[in-house]
Symmetry: C2
Subunit: 378 residues, 2 copies
Amino acid sequence: MEKNYLLTPGPTPLPPAVCAAQAQPIIHHRTPQFQAILKEVTEGLKYVFKTKNDVFILTSSGTGAMEAAVANLLSPGDTAITVEGGKFGERWTEICKSYGINTKVIKVEWGKAVEPKEIEKLLQQDPAVKAVFVTACETSTGVSNDMKAIGEIVKATNAVLVVDAISALASLDLQTDNWSLDVVVSGSQKGLMLPPGLAFISVSEKAYKLVEVAESPRYYFDLRLAKKAWEKIDTPFTPAITTIIALKAALDIIKQEGLENIFSRHKKMAQATRKAMLALGLELFAPEASSDAVTAVKVPEGIDGEKLVKTMRDTYGVTIAGGQAELKGKIFRIAHMGYINEFDIILCISCLEKVLHQMGYKFELGKGLQAAEEVFLK
Amino acid sequence: MEKNYLLTPGPTPLPPAVCAAQAQPIIHHRTPQFQAILKEVTEGLKYVFKTKNDVFILTSSGTGAMEAAVANLLSPGDTAITVEGGKFGERWTEICKSYGINTKVIKVEWGKAVEPKEIEKLLQQDPAVKAVFVTACETSTGVSNDMKAIGEIVKATNAVLVVDAISALASLDLQTDNWSLDVVVSGSQKGLMLPPGLAFISVSEKAYKLVEVAESPRYYFDLRLAKKAWEKIDTPFTPAITTIIALKAALDIIKQEGLENIFSRHKKMAQATRKAMLALGLELFAPEASSDAVTAVKVPEGIDGEKLVKTMRDTYGVTIAGGQAELKGKIFRIAHMGYINEFDIILCISCLEKVLHQMGYKFELGKGLQAAEEVFLK
């Protein structure tokens, strides 16, 4: 009997109501019926973003929205700061360089959060900096950055703050307006419990001033076209209709649980996961800055990390993520966001214990489960 | 009782097997299970494109693939020819201009096909032209261009031919390799019977030489990244997993019917639709170059075109398309491609007759249906 469980930090599992929404016959996008949905989900996204800013829906993966941010805010030769503490931080640098941006990179040791003061120092040194690109939750390392502190720093300057919240949105508390996050980008396949294929971007007044003058070439991701289309409750190009209808179903679930309850659930699952890992004698990859969306764990000495992840998936149907890029084989990552609950975490720990045991790793069987249960009972 | 019928030229209706595929639990994209699907659908796309060239899947609407073509082939200051015979031809010009391309525009009267000799003349005048951008089926006017003749002309020059086959692919015969179509772009929500959200792009050897040297900024749509990822049967960014799995279901249906049978079915439906319109005393918008994917019909004098389309949709559940841009209210368009069969055409004509009659248009009731039936019985 095959039964599969998904505990990867994107895609995350889909609620049955989302699956059902996707099976519906398609409707045309330029109809009052679809416009009503587009309006409703845009309002719903504003609730999740905690913003009154415009939020646009793009048909792309989250990286498309990252590129939209760079292309719409900057012109070739402009200066920007990027924070690199993992694969997705590096992506900001790569995109900026593709667009001929003069990029000042803050390198952060993988597994650590950026020191907000580093950003402040660099901004003071160079008042020409137009944008600061940060990753709220660095999915590749399981690290959360202090977006509130960074928001305060950037707010006091002429630069705009651009936040990759692809795995942070609806996973961790992220207060777009209160924390002065000028541009926030996200994707559908993480906290929003949808298949990949939609991206989102919010734009503050301060950021709009750059959008109006930026000279980078852009068309499909041109936010001026998105803003103009939105005046008629429309998108400039045919959107991923089905996924937007599924987004309505997902937002209904999110509103019903309530954002703060969702964050508490994620936090508790994160704590349980971390305690379980420690109880098994494993080491966290980011002990000081662990995100409540995903936990990265070091593969213990003598264990083949890639084989561990493959066996859990191919033999037992439990899919977690391995390490990416330079962390390949060195860490594994367990997601605890979106449509994942405490019993998913329990079964995942059980599967991990089983495979670690079979691979010869020494520990007391059941200790991880016990530690997790203790957290969940609190 | 509400029962809805979709006869718009994108999105087109979804087969039940496609809807069912979309309702499945999601799987992770970096798994052997998904890689097998990605490989299979890429092979299936090559069958539909009639090509041995690489075909890449992008997560975007078709316009994303159009921008990918411009950004990957050209550098700022390069010269290109665009053919404008409708809204989508104009899009090629708009994208080229966004990228700083020196654009030579061939203006074609809306409703007419481009004269291939016009392209030949312009290419002879300016040997610096690097690319020619043409729309195979101009969805906004229902016109098909002679891609075979244009292919022969461009093949003999240094320029590459780039074809918008968004509504043409799997709708009309399009022979990428035989006709020397260097770059062909398409989308999911037309002949391929999927929801919008995926785009496709094929690249010839001749075109690859431009991709390697093009200096336009690009990242999300960078075909060098797509090509590199494909070496490991992967995509550079998280793809629209669910739609790709649904693509497998759609390709299975296409392979079962067979491309040539699909084209014959579309052709017969197109003929029936055209004969029906003439029998009702209506005028075709593109009588000399009517596409077999979509028929555009002039709204008769004294009839409110927008109200006609709205009444069919909102009162009777039959959705056809109105005119776009300068043709708003002046034409309506009936799609006959993808998961649409002769009885869909029959019910659409019936609904059109009903509403035209109610709106006071004078004609003999049933004449349109009769003309269509005569074609279908041949």
